[in-house]
C-alpha cells in the first residue's frame, strides 16, 4: 500500500480531531461514531494492523475507511509537520487497497458501477444531464471563452439544480462567455478517486480531457469545488491542463462592478467553507469577496470557519453512499446548529453537495423557519427580485 511507511508514525495525540480552537470535534466520522477507531489516528493504526494481517477485512473496517469525508481537517491540524500532508493520501491508499482486493461495501461498489455505466451515480441517462438548463437559453459549448462544467450533483440533484440554474443565470446576466456540454457531460471523478477506484478515475479524467480538448476548451468554470479540485490538481497528470476556476472566482471580479440595486433590508449571512475550495485549495477569500460584494449582505462568521470549518459530511462519497449517516451528531446537523447560533438568516454555501447536505440538516433540525441554505448566486438573484418589487411598490405608491 502506498504511504504504508507513515502509518506507524501516528502518535494518536488527537490534534487531528479538533479545530484550532479545540472547541469541539471537527472530524465528521469521529464526531458521528465517537469510537477512536473512526478518528484519523484510528485509521492510521487500523490500516497498519490490517496490512500486517492482525485484523481482517470486515464491514466495520470498511465503514471506518469509507466514513472518512476527506475533508482535510486532519491534514490541517495534525502536529507532525513531516508526514501530516499525507494523512488523507494514506486513507485513500487504504481504500485503493480495498478496491484492489475487491472487498468493498455494497453501497460503494454500486456507486462505482453506476458511474461506470451511466457517467453519473444517479443511474440517469445522458439525455437527463443538461435538463437543468431548460428555459434558460444556455448554449452548448462552442467557441465560448469558458466551459461551465456542472457535475453530477449540480445536474441531477434537485437542490443542486436550483443552484446550477442560479449560477448560470447570474453568469449570463454578467455577460460571462460560457457554454455547457449538456448531454455530453460526465462525472469529474473526484469522489471516485478519493474512494480508491484509481482505474475508473483515470478513465473518467481521460474521457473528460478528450471531450474538453476536442471542443477546444481552455478555461473551465466548475460549479462544484470537488470538480474544481480534480480538474485543477489531478487532470494535469493525464495531460489535461486547463485554466480551472470555481464559479465564485469568476463572480468575484464581476459582481461589485455590476452596480446592482438591492433591497433596503440587510441580510445576515454566515458562510460555510467547502472543503475542496478551502482546506484543499486554500481559497477562503474569494467566496467571501463575492458575498461581501452583494450590497446589504452582512457576513457573520461561525466559530469554526476557514481552516477550521466543519465539513458538511458529504465528501469522500458520503453524499451518495451515506455511510457516515444522519442523526443529531452528524456533522451536517451539528453544522446547521452552529450556523443558526450566529443569528444569520442564510447559511451560504459554494458547493452543491454542501447545499443539499445542509438543507436536509436544517429540515431534520426543524429550523427551516429561521435559517435557509443558499449559494451566493441564489442570494443575489433573490435580492434583485426583492429590489424590483420594492421599486414597483415605490412607483405604484408615487403614482
Amino acid at each position: 500500500m502506498e504511504y504504508a511507511e507513515i502509518l506507524h508514525r501516528c502518535f494518536r495525540c488527537g490534534y487531528c480531531k479538533l479545530p484550532s480552537s479545540y472547541q469541539d470535534l471537527n472530524c465528521p466520522s469521529y464526531l458521528k461514531f465517537r469510537f477512536e477507531t473512526y478518528s484519523p489516528g484510528g485509521r492510521m493504526w487500523l490500516l497498519r494492523e490490517w496490512l500486517d494481517g492482525g485484523i481482517k477485512t470486515s464491514e466495520r473496517f470498511q465503514e471506518i475507511l469509507y466514513s472518512c469525508t476527506a475533508c482535510g481537517n486532519c491534514v490541517e491540524h495534525c502536529i507532525f509537520p513531516k508526514f501530516k500532508a499525507d494523512l488523507l493520501n494514506a486513507f485513500t491508499a487504504g481504500r485503493v487497497e480495498l478496491v484492489d482486493r475487491g472487498v468493498l461495501p455494497r453501497l460503494v461498489s454500486r456507486y462505482f458501477k453506476a458511474i461506470y455505466n451511466y457517467g453519473n451515480p444517479y443511474k440517469l441517462l445522458k439525455e437527463e444531464r443538461g435538463k437543468w438548463a431548460e428555459g434558460l437559453d444556455i448554449e452548448i459549448y462552442k467557441d465560448h471563452e469558458h466551459l461551465f462544467y456542472v457535475g453530477c450533483a449540480g445536474s441531477h440533484d434537485e437542490r443542486g439544480q436550483k443552484m446550477t440554474r442560479a449560477v448560470a443565470s447570474l453568469m449570463k446576466r454578467l455577460d460571462v462567455s460560457f457554454g455547457i456540454l449538456g448531454a455530453d457531460e460526465i462525472c469529474d471523478g473526484n469522489e471516485v478517486r478519493v474512494m480508491g477506484e484509481e482505474g475508473l478515475f483515470e478513465h473518467l479524467a481521460k474521457q473528460n480531457i478528450e471531450t474538453f480538448q476536442k471542443a477546444g476548451v481552455n478555461k473551465i468554470i466548475t460549479l462544484s469545488p470537488h470538480a474544481y479540485h480534480a480538474m485543477k490538481n489531478y487532470y494535469p497528470f493525464f495531460g489535461g491542463s486547463f485554466q480551472v476556476l470555481h464559479y465564485t472566482q469568476i463572480l468575484a471580479g464581476l459582481i461589485g462592478k455590476a452596480g446592482f440595486t438591492m433591497p433596503s433590508k440587510p441580510l445576515k449571512v454566515t458562510f460555510h467553507d467547502p472543503c475542496y475550495l478551502g482546506r484543499h485549495n486554500n481559497d477562503y477569500f474569494t467566496p467571501r469577496v463575492v458575498l461581501g460584494a452583494i450590497p446589504g449582505v452582512e457576513i457573520v462568521e461561525m466559530d469554526r470557519s476557514k481552516v477550521d470549518s466543519l465539513c458538511c459530511g458529504g465528501g469522500g462519497g458520503n453524499f451518495f453512499t451515506d455511510i457516515l449517516g444522519g442523526g443529531p451528531d452528524s456533522s451536517s446537523r451539528v453544522r446547521a446548529r452552529e450556523a443558526a447560533e450566529t443569528g444569520a438568516e442564510v447559511l451560504a454555501v459554494a458547493c452543491p453537495k454542501c447545499a443539499k447536505m445542509l438543507d436536509d440538516a436544517i429540515k431534520a433540525e426543524d429550523m427551516e423557519e429561521k435559517l435557509r441554505v443558499m449559494d451566493s448566486a441564489e442570494i443575489l438573484i433573490e435580492r434583485l427580485v426583492q429590489a424590483n418589487e420594492e421599486n414597483e411598490t415605490a412607483t405604484s405608491v408615487s403614482r
Binding site: F11, C13, Y22, D24, S58, F80
Partner: protein, 459 residues
C-alpha cells in the same frame, strides 16, 4: 458473553457498544511501550445513569471495567489487563456550570481540556484552568484523577489540589458525591467535610468511575510573558527554582534539558510564565523574578535568554503543541516518559542520572521538570522516543523506562501514573501497612475486584 454485549447495547444503544475486532484492537494499547491487552467490549456511556447500569451489570457478572478518558496517559493505565469492558467516557463531555465569582467549573468526566479552554475563552474570558501539556483532547477528569499538573501548577499545585468535588459511580453501581456538592448546591470546595476524594485520586481507576468533576479556575490575565533562565550548572538549579518560585508570581515554571537543538545541549533552561492585568504589573513581576536570582546573574553563571516577543510565542502556548512532536524525532511515532515526583533538591542528581540512563540505553531523550506549587516539589520527566515499527527499539525504550522508574525510587522520588510493573516497584518500597490499607479500602469499595484489575497489585 453474547448476552453481556446485548445488555450493554440495551444500556447505551447499539451505536455505542462494540465487541468488534477493530475497537478491541485499538483500545488494547496506547501510544506508549506497554504490551497490548484486549478488551472484550468498548462502551461509550452518555449519562451517569448509564454508567451506573453498566457497573451494576459488570459487578453482577464480575466483568472487569476500565474507565478511559483521552487514553493519552502513555503508561498503559487504560489497557484492560484482564479484559472486560473499556468505558470510553468522552461522550459525557458537557460543561455543566461555571461559577465566575467563586472561580470553579463543573464538567462531565469526558469533557476535554481543549473544549473547556475554548469554552472559557468564549464565555468567560477572564478565567482559565490549569492546562496540562497533554494534547487538548485529553480529558479534565482523567488528568486530575492521575494527579496531573500543568500551566498553573506553580500557582496552584497539582491538579488534584485544584479539585473541588467529584461525582463517582462506585464499582457496585451506587453514585456518590464528594466534596461540598454532597451537602450544598455549590461545588466550591472539598472541605470542611471528611475528604473522601482521596479514595479515587491516584488509584489508576481501581476504585470507581468519576462521572462529574469540579475544578478551580484562575484569573486569565490579559498580559502574559515568559522569561527563560539559562545555566549550565545543574547544582544551582534547586536554589534558582526555590528563589523563582518563592516570589509567588509565576503561574508555571518548567525546566527543560534536551540534546537538540544543538544550542540547548548541556544547558538547563527554566521557563517562567506569568501574567498581569497591565503592562506595568507585568514589568514589576518580571523585575521581582529577576531580582530573586540576581545573585547568579551577578556571578555571571546564569541569566535570562534574550528573546524577542515573536520567539516567545511557542513558550506561551498551552498546551505546548511542539511537545508531542518529540514522538517523531526518529520517524518512529512514539515516546513515553517517566514523571518522577520528587523534592526540588534532587534536581542535579535526577538530571545526571537521567543522562546516564539515556546514554546506557542509547535512547533519544528529552528531560525536564514542572515545578509544583511554590517550589514544593517537581515532576521530573524523562522522555524517551522510540520507533514503533522496530520492536527492538520499543523494547529498548521500555527497558530505559524501567531503569528510570527504579532510579527515581532509589533517589527518593516516586514515579507518577506508573505503569503496572512500576506500580509493583513502588509497592515494594512502600511502608507495608500503607499498602495493606490500600487493599482494605479496595476490598470495601470493590468487593468483586472488577475495577481495572492488575493495577496496584503485587502479583
Amino acid at each position: 458473553m453474547k448476552d453481556v454485549y446485548q445488555q450493554l447495547v440495551s444500556i447505551v444503544g447499539p451505536a455505542y457498544a462494540s465487541n468488534h475486532p477493530e475497537e478491541r484492537f485499538f483500545y488494547s494499547r496506547d501510544g506508549g511501550t506497554m504490551e497490548p491487552r484486549e478488551p472484550d467490549f468498548v462502551v461509550m456511556p452518555k449519562t451517569t445513569d448509564e454508567v451506573q447500569q453498566i457497573m451494576k451489570l459488570a459487578n453482577e457478572r464480575e466483568i472487569p471495567v476500565v474507565p478511559m478518558g483521552g487514553g493519552l496517559v502513555l503508561s498503559g493505565l487504560s489497557r484492560p489487563l484482564k479484559g472486560g469492558i473499556v468505558l470510553d467516557m468522552k461522550r459525557m463531555n458537557r460543561i455543566l456550570e461555571v461559577n465566575e465569582t467563586s472561580r470553579y467549573v463543573v464538567v462531565e468526566a469526558g469533557a476535554s481540556q481543549g473544549m473547556l479552554q475554548a469554552y472559557l475563552k468564549k464565555h468567560h474570558p477572564k478565567l482559565k484552568h490549569s492546562v496540562p501539556d497533554a494534547p487538548p483532547i485529553a480529558t479534565i477528569a482523567g488528568n486530575v484523577l492521575i494527579h496531573g499538573s500543568g500551566h498553573l501548577s506553580a500557582m496552584g499545585g497539582f491538579h488534584t489540589d485544584m479539585l473541588n468535588g467529584l461525582e463517582v459511580v462506585l464499582p457496585t453501581g451506587e453514585m456518590v458525591r464528594i466534596g461540598s456538592c454532597s451537602t450544598s448546591p455549590y461545588w466550591f470546595s472539598r472541605f470542611p467535610l471528611p475528604d473522601l476524594s482521596g479514595l479515587f485520586l491516584g488509584w489508576a481507576g481501581t476504585t470507581g468511575v468519576a462521572t462529574k468533576i469540579a475544578i478551580k479556575l484562575y484569573p486569565n490575565r490579559p498580559f502574559n510573558d515568559v522569561i527563560i533562565f539559562v545555566t549550565e550548572d545543574p547544582e544551582i538549579v534547586p536554589d534558582v527554582i526555590h528563589r523563582l518560585s518563592g516570589v509567588a508570581v509565576a503561574e508555571d515554571i518548567l525546566a527543560w534539558m534536551t540534546p537538540k537543538p544543538v544550542w540547548a545541549h548541556g544547558f538547563q533552561m527554566l521557563n517562567v510564565n506569568y501574567g498581569a492585568d497591565s503592562r506595568r504589573e507585568l514589568t514589576l513581576k518580571r523585575d521581582l523574578l529577576r531580582e530573586s536570582v540576581s545573585k547568579y546573574i551577578d556571578e555571571k553563571v546564569g541569566g535570562f535568554m534574550p528573546l524577542p516577543p515573536d520567539m516567545k510565542k511557542r513558550f506561551l502556548e498551552a498546551p505546548a503543541s511542539t511537545l508531542a512532536v518529540f514522538a517523531d524525532v526518529n520517524k518512529g511515532g512514539g515516546f513515553e516518559y517517566v514523571g518522577g515526583i520528587m523534592p526540588i533538591e534532587l534536581f542535579p542528581e535526577a538530571y545526571r542520572k537521567g543522562l546516564e540512563v539515556a546514554s546506557k540505553h542509547a535512547v533519544t531523550y528529552s528531560l525536564g521538570a514542572r515545578i509544583i506549587g511554590l517550589g514544593h516539589c517537581m515532576m521530573f520527566f524523562y522522555a524517551y522516543a522510540f520507533n514503533r515499527a522496530d520492536e527492538a527499539d520499543v523494547k529498548r525504550a521500555q527497558q530505559a523506562l524501567e531503569d528510570t522508574n527504579g532510579m527515581v525510587l532509589e533517589m527518593g522520588g516516586i514515579p507518577w501514573k506508573a505503569e503496572a510493573p512500576a506500580q509493583k516497584q513502588i509497592i515494594n518500597k512502600m511502608h507495608p501497612p500503607t499498602y495493606e490499607l490500600m487493599n482494605r479500602i479496595r476490598a470495601v469499595l470493590d468487593p468483586k475486584g472488577i475495577m481495572n484489575p492488575g493495577n496496584w497489585e503485587v502479583s
